[in-house]
């Protein structure tokens, strides 16, 4: 198992390096005079050249990238070209917002999807139809449209939650809860729709397995078979889907943070990509990819723990 984790981490690190290289190369393609942009049209050429030199932009792209990489592996992500903020600090300040969203959505999705999915598979009937319709609706409606409807209903019409703004957990836990509830709800609709359908399908598949019949034949009650045997065997496919949903979730967070005015990684992405602030964009891309790699690793570890056959691989 440790061997497996080590191999996966190495593969993840390699992926990060490859993506960082490609991103840096692509981001350097547009021939933008950053010094000119920063200092304005009226600045004289010498000052612009000096600014470009101080940012290291007068060097070849490969040299710039190597320099960036050498610093990045030591945890130094550079400074923003436009705000002179330390990129690491800027990202760290915004990470808790997005992280609390992701954690909230993951918990809500896991709990609700398993409940709905197992219920739909075992009992069929109305819950089953609900899960199927939710699956279609969740797939069909763009996430931000769902978010807008949620804002309209719960914030504008019912006025239960603030429509905009963020309170840090450390400042006021209750305030934090009231500001993240609607964003988490918005993001959860699509992921619950997707994951609950997968859980339903996986449970139906497992219920048809021969060993479930044999367990019944040995006098075990249906509830126990479902909770112990079916759930465990159905969890692996459901978890893989949960991991895949996470990639989409990161994209959804961009829109949701923008709509709710949350100072997270997503809204940061919108602001900084508009300006072409390469050090910040690089950090954001790296963070996103690292997040995806980490989640997939966690999912694989959990699948290995659930399924003894996968442990060997």
């Amino acid at each position: 198992m440790l061997n497996f984790i080590a191999r996966r981490i190495a593969a993840g690190a390699l992926l990060l390096v490859v993506i960082s290289f490609l991103s840096y190369l692509l981001l350097s393609i547009p021939d933008v005079d950053v010094g000119r942009q920063l200092l304005g049209q009226s600045a004289d050429q010498a000052a612009v050249d000096a600014k470009n030199a101080s940012l290291g932009l007068d060097r070849p792209v490969l040299e710039q990238y190597t320099d960036w990489l050498m610093h990045a592996v030591r945890g130094d992500l550079g400074t923003s070209w436009f705000t002179s903020e330390d990129v690491g600090d800027a990202v760290a300040g915004r990470l808790p917002v997005t992280a609390s969203l992701m954690l909230g959505v993951t918990l809500v999705t896991t709990a609700v999807s398993f409940l709905l999915g197992v219920w739909a598979a075992v009992r069929r009937g109305a819950v089953d139809r609900f899960v199927q319709i939710l699956g279609v609706v969740g797939y069909a409606l763009p996430g931000f449209l769902v978010t807008l409807v949620i804002v309209l209903v719960f914030a504008v019409n019912l006025n239960w939650f603030p429509a905009i703004g963020y309170t840090a957990f450390t400042e006021s836990p209750a305030g934090w809860l009231s500001t993240v509830t609607l964003p988490v709800l918005s993001l959860s609709v699509a992921s619950v729709a997707g994951v609950s359908q997968q859980v339903r399908g996986a449970v139906i598949d497992v219920l048809r397995q021969d060993y479930v019949r044999t367990l019944r034949a040995r006098g075990l009650p249906a509830s126990r078979i479902v909770l112990r045997h079916v759930l465990r065997n159905a969890s692996a496919p459901a978890l893989s889907v949960l991991g895949m949903q996470f990639v989409g979730l990161l994209g959804g967070a961009v829109l949701v943070e923008q709509i709710f005015g949350l100072p997270g990684i997503g809204s940061m992405t919108v602001t900084y990509t508009a300006r072409g602030d390469i050090p910040v964009i690089m950090a954001l891309v790296m963070l996103t990819v690292a997040g995806v790699v980490l989640i997939n690793l966690l999912v694989d570890i959990m699948i290995g723990w659930l399924n003894p056959k996968a442990r060997v691989a």
Binding site: L141, L148, L255, V292, P308
Partner: protein, 606 residues
């Protein structure tokens, strides 16, 4: 504004949707007919067609220029001239919706085209030829799929500028993996099929094979995927526009939503129209995809409704009760048993039509017949473990005098754990892969007998010893995939013995095993039966096993018992013509079942 559109977009828009149907009409008339007969499919196709036509004809249909504004009328409600009202700048919303659709749908179309152009050919190639291209492409695809599309699109804006049309090309690249994976998977599967081999052998070129045999298989799933990816592309396009990444003044549904959202406190209605346009388009696409899938798979879409009354069928006294078999046996007695399965259309299909069978204590009764004759259904009925949709629809089953037809699940379950036990056919698939052998033996014992963990562990080892498994202390800690099929069958027999049963239902207990192991397992069953005085109902199609083991035999054909008697009577002097055919079949084959040999082995000796 239509000037912003690349010249070919309207034609492309017209080409796409009919293309999805066009090919279907040409070669798969059945699918289209099924699609149109499915109300949801027909409705969503109609809605989609309407939206596309309206958007393509926007310049003709729109009441006014989408950019024309009269600030006096800002936020004006719906009226005759402006059926959807006016937006914050006093522009006609309907005109903007119609023109905006060209940008939104056109952008999605570009993404879709790029995704198809990249994904399908590469998927075909990788799936058909495999090899290095396949590995490289799969690696690249996994890489792209681990990137969140929205983040990449925003990062691309830094490179390519805030032009949504260009970003849609990027989206096309990001969406290509979904086609690649789909096509590659299908082609790699089909490639191993015999008919492709046959085509190869008969000298067809690869191009012809791909064109004639493989494209046909891929086409349906790809069309479905097109509908789904189109929905995603429209959503992302609108999302980007909503974020303000768009190209400024041109109307798009996403930008309209953004503008309406800014003014949500003043007038919520303008949000409804672009929201509705997006929701309807995407909803129609997803429903259409679903209907297409149903059409291609030719299923009704709804699983059979479960019968609530499944376990409740009343014990119907049947005429068979006092018929030939006479006195009912003490251990197991089945009279007039009928089993029915619920059909999708709500009717029942009867698969067992009035079976009578008896098993006395200490007796082995063979239930013989070919597959599909209803023998396994009969066995499952006794155990009360018929699959979903199946139920005992009539007749009577008594176990030690207790009627089990209509018996509440709880009481039937108590019988299963103790008095009646079951040995299944396929040993490997009947053990839960996620739990150790020991845990699977212990759990039902602890449940049925209420014994401690330690006691259950001790008994588990004893049981494994009983079925002659060497080194039982080690085996309890193994997982099913770590033991052989023969050993797995012994474990299942051990499990059956754990509740100290009086009646054993064995469903083809040796069919899945190789010949040597078959003999050992039969020997084990015989010994256990003798030592414990078990009554056994042995379901089998193997007359050799019957001759070897059984005291009496019942022969089943098409859901009915056609002949019963002692093994000697039935095997030596069969009365029923069907029994005679069964026996003849064995004689022709003699030995009853040829030992299985791998094909390669045979061809080397030849």
């Amino acid at each position: 504004m239509s000037e912003n559109l690349p010249a070919d977009t309207p034609t492309a828009a017209r080409a796409l949707v009919p293309a999805a149907f066009g090919t279907s009409t040409a070669r798969r008339g059945g699918v289209v007919r099924r699609l149109l007969r499915n109300p949801l499919g027909a409705l969503s196709a109609a809605v989609l067609l309407l939206i596309v036509v309206a958007v393509v004809l926007a310049p003709l249909l729109a009441p006014q220029d989408p950019g024309a504004s009269s600030l006096r009328d800002a936020f004006a409600g719906p009226s005759g001239a402006h059926p959807m009202g006016m937006d914050s700048a006093g522009r006609d919303i309907l005109s903007r919706i119609l023109h905006g659709g060209r940008n939104t749908l056109g952008g999605a179309l570009i993404a879709l085209g790029i995704a198809l152009a990249l994904g399908v050919p590469s998927g075909l190639y990788a799936g058909y030829y495999g090899g290095r291209f396949d590995s490289a492409a799969t690696w690249a695809v996994n890489l792209v799929m681990s990137l969140p599309a929205m983040v990449v699109l925003l990062a691309s804006r830094a490179i390519l500028g805030p032009n949504v049309w260009v970003l849609m090309i990027v989206l096309g690249v990001l969406a290509a993996p979904s086609f690649f994976r789909l096509v590659r998977g299908i082609v790699a599967g089909v490639r191993k099929e015999l008919y492709v081999d046959a085509a190869k052998v008969s000298g067809l070129s690869d191009t012809r094979i791909v064109a004639r045999h493989i494209l046909i298989v891929v086409r349906g799933p790809v069309i479905i995927q097109v509908a789904l990816v189109a929905g995603i592309a429209i959503g992302l396009q609108a999302g980007l526009e909503f974020l303000g990444v768009g190209s400024g003044s041109a109307p798009t549904w996403g930008a309209m939503l953004n503008e309406a959202f800014q003014n949500i406190q003043r007038a919520p209605l303008p949000m409804l129209w672009p929201g509705l346009a997006l929701g309807l388009t995407n909803g129609a696409l997803v429903l259409l995809a679903g209907a297409l899938r149903d059409g291609l798979e030719d299923r009704t879409g709804h699983a059979a409704k479960p019968h609530r009354a499944r376990d409740r069928a009343a014990a119907v006294p049947s005429a068979a009760a006092d018929s030939p078999a006479g006195q009912r046996a003490g251990l197991l007695s089945v009279r007039g048993l009928t089993v029915a399965y619920a059909q999708p259309d709500g009717s029942d299909k009867e698969v067992v039509h009035g079976v009578d069978i008896d098993v006395r204590a200490g007796e082995i009764v063979g239930l013989v017949g070919e597959s599909g004759s209803g023998k396994t259904q009969t066995a499952f009925s006794v155990l009360g473990i018929l699959p979903e949709g199946g139920r005992v629809s009539g007749g009577s089953i008594t176990i030690k005098g207790q009627e089990v037809v209509g018996l509440p699940e709880r009481a039937h379950r108590a019988l299963r754990g103790g008095t009646v036990a079951y040995v299944p056919q396929e040993p490997m698939s009947n053990l839960d892969p996620s739990f150790t052998i020991g845990s699977q033996l212990m759990e039902p014992m602890r449940h049925a007998l209420g014994i401690s963990r330690k006691e259950a562990a001790r008994r588990a080892v004893d049981l494994l010893r009983l079925v002659e498994i060497p080194d039982p202390e080690r085996v309890v800690g193994l997982y099913p995939h770590e033991i052989s099929g023969g050993m797995a069958q012994r474990v299942l027999i051990a499990g059956a013995m754990s509740g100290d049963p009086e009646l054993l239902i064995a469903d083809e207990p040796t069919t899945a095993l190789d010949v040597r192991v078959q003999a050992e397992i039969l020997e084990l069953l015989r010994r256990l039966q003798k030592d414990r005085g078990l009554g056994v109902l042995l379901v089998t199609h193997n007359l050799g096993v019957v001759a070897d083991l059984c005291d009496r035999v019942a022969v089943m054909n098409s859901g009915r018992i056609v002949e019963t008697g002692t093994t000697e009577q039935v095997l030596h002097a069969p009365q029923d013509p069907y029994t005679r055919t069964l026996l003849d079949a064995v004689l022709d084959e003699a030995p009853a079942r040829a030992p299985w040999e791998p094909r390669e082995a045979r061809s080397t000796t030849a």
